[in-house]
Symmetry: C2
Subunit: 331 residues, 2 copies
């Protein structure tokens, strides 16, 4: 295993030190492993937290900041944070207007966020929850009842973050979050496995001449394996299942072509060129896009495509200023 780490046991603690040192706009609670905005949100505005297993950086810690999250809980690699972490984040960020929990649909995350919400309610904090389940690859999965939550989470965090910043109340923020979740779809693929530091060896074996279509962000099995194919053919296998699952025509679409962690940007741009050509052929109009590493899977090589069927209001919220380590414009 070749990684820039000190010890498999200290990866999260050490990485949090680097995050704290590099982003002056956040502060890190090292005991609870929660990343907060350095300057809390104004009183009366809805706060938003998310969290999940580490290994998907910049998600979620890199999305803490003005216009996006108020806090993010970092679990061990590919392991849900605990309810205690989520409770600490929730009670700390609440300004009195309530807190939205953004949860990716994995059994451990869903269960722990549910418990944290109950504990927060006992502490007098109103919590609403959205569960993101946008991965069209498989219905149930290794760690999931129902679809896995993947890339749409990033776009959702940006959009609802803008609405909360504008002063929307908890019911409105939660409804907006559900709308984005309902209108987001993703599909991913892997060229290689990832290696969890504590395991020290690849999560799965993928022969040198094969790729896996429909991979999950923890290396969960996808739909099938096939011989290494050209970018055009891979793009077809990402686009087709998404478009057959939801109608993306007749609305402005936000697209994310995401790298899994070890994919160079030149390949992501190349893939985006293939994807956009297919979307145009299918009559889909991409109004906003991002190409890069946003929701990764450690050192996995591969990519995923996420589309959100938007409307003028979602596009307006998308364009609103954001200032985080992982996503920034207008500030």
């Amino acid at each position: 295993m070749k990684k820039l780490i000190n010890s498999p046991d200290n990866v999260i603690a050490d990485a949090l030190k680097g995050i704290a040192a590099s982003d002056k706009d956040v502060r890190v609670d090292f005991n609870n492993r929660v990343i907060y905005r350095a300057t809390p949100k104004e009183a009366g505005k809805v706060a938003i937290i998310s969290g999940g297993g580490s290994g998907h950086e910049p998600m979620h810690g890199g999305f803490v900041g003005v216009g996006m999250l108020d806090a993010a809980c970092a679990g061990e690699v590919f392991t849900s944070p605990t309810p205690d972490q989520m409770l600490a984040a929730t009670t700390t960020v609440d300004t009195g207007a309530g807190v939205l929990h953004i949860v990716k649909n994995y059994t451990g995350d869903v269960m722990n966020f549910e418990m944290a919400a109950e504990m927060a309610a006992d502490a007098g904090v109103e919590v609403a929850t959205v569960v993101v389940a946008d991965d069209v690859a498989v219905q149930d999965s290794l760690y999931t009842a129902g679809r896995r939550g993947v890339g749409a989470t990033v776009l959702l965090e940006k959009i609802v973050g803008a609405a909360a910043e504008e002063g929307a109340d908890l019911a409105a923020v939660a409804a907006l979050a559900q709308k984005v979740a309902d209108n987001g779809r993703s599909m991913g693929m892997a060229l290689t496995s990832c290696t969890v530091p504590s395991a020290g060896k690849p999560t799965f074996d993928l022969p040198d001449n094969e790729i896996e279509i429909g991979i999950g962000i923890h290396g969960e099995p996808g739909r099938h394996r096939e011989p290494i194919a050209d970018a055009h053919s891979i793009a077809e296998q990402l686009v087709a299942p998404i478009l057959s699952d939801l109608d993306f025509t007749g609305a402005p679409v936000i697209a994310m072509l995401n790298g899994m962690g070890a994919t160079p940007l030149i390949e992501l741009y190349l893939m985006y060129g293939e994807v956009i050509a297919l979307l145009e052929e299918a009559g889909v109009t991409v109004e906003r896009n991002m190409v890069g590493n946003y929701i990764t899977s450690l050192d996995m090589a591969g990519c995923s495509l996420t589309l959100v069927r938007a409307d003028d209001e979602l596009i307006r919220l998308w364009d609103a200023p954001v200032r985080t380590a992982g996503l920034r414009w207008g500030l």
Copy 2:
């Protein structure tokens, strides 16, 4: 070779399609393989171009936009663009105030940019040139007389881009560029080789249990190889040669902890934590930083550290708004 490409022959052409589709603020001249701002700079302001071999994305094409470059020439992978490409870029972006060429110190790039500058002069365009040679790893190298030009190029493009946007004249922009070049130092390391698409196999062999300290961005040999070490020890080997080459105390410093293309962000943050601790011990004050993939080497895993010894004026220009695919804030 596992890559998201259609054919080794079409990598640049296909990637340029994706860049054109994803960034509405640039337009791509596919014949000359030049990326321009979609909206040219106002008349009377100095224009800035750069360019080099492809495979280092987002550099340089991802740094075209307001506050940074006016155009970037894309060569084949790890191969200098031609003088014709550079001439096309130079004459197109000139507003009458002259053009700065930002050149990384590689024999082919230096020669071709010199030729392009002469041709531009014949065409009546005033050109100034800065050659960046910031890599402290080796004195001469595989493709270089003198030091290699690496990470300081990114920081230089941002800083001089801001000055040109403010209306500084060509002599002032060129002097500023030289000042940044003189005050920038870098050092890199690799966990793995990269694979050039047309070669189809790794550029060099690096055993599973070894790393290379002082690597170049084309896989050129570094200082030495050693058994895989912990992040702290690697950080020491990046920081020490930089600090022994230039005094970084007593001034605000801009730091970049850069990924080589296949390094996950969690490892880059972890490395930044190690680096900043060493810099603080050495009395170096980092006032601004970035952590991420900015000057890559295809699918190489590894990282590099760049420091620029700044002053209040450089920090002010660093903070100025920038809007490019690869670097963006304030706009």
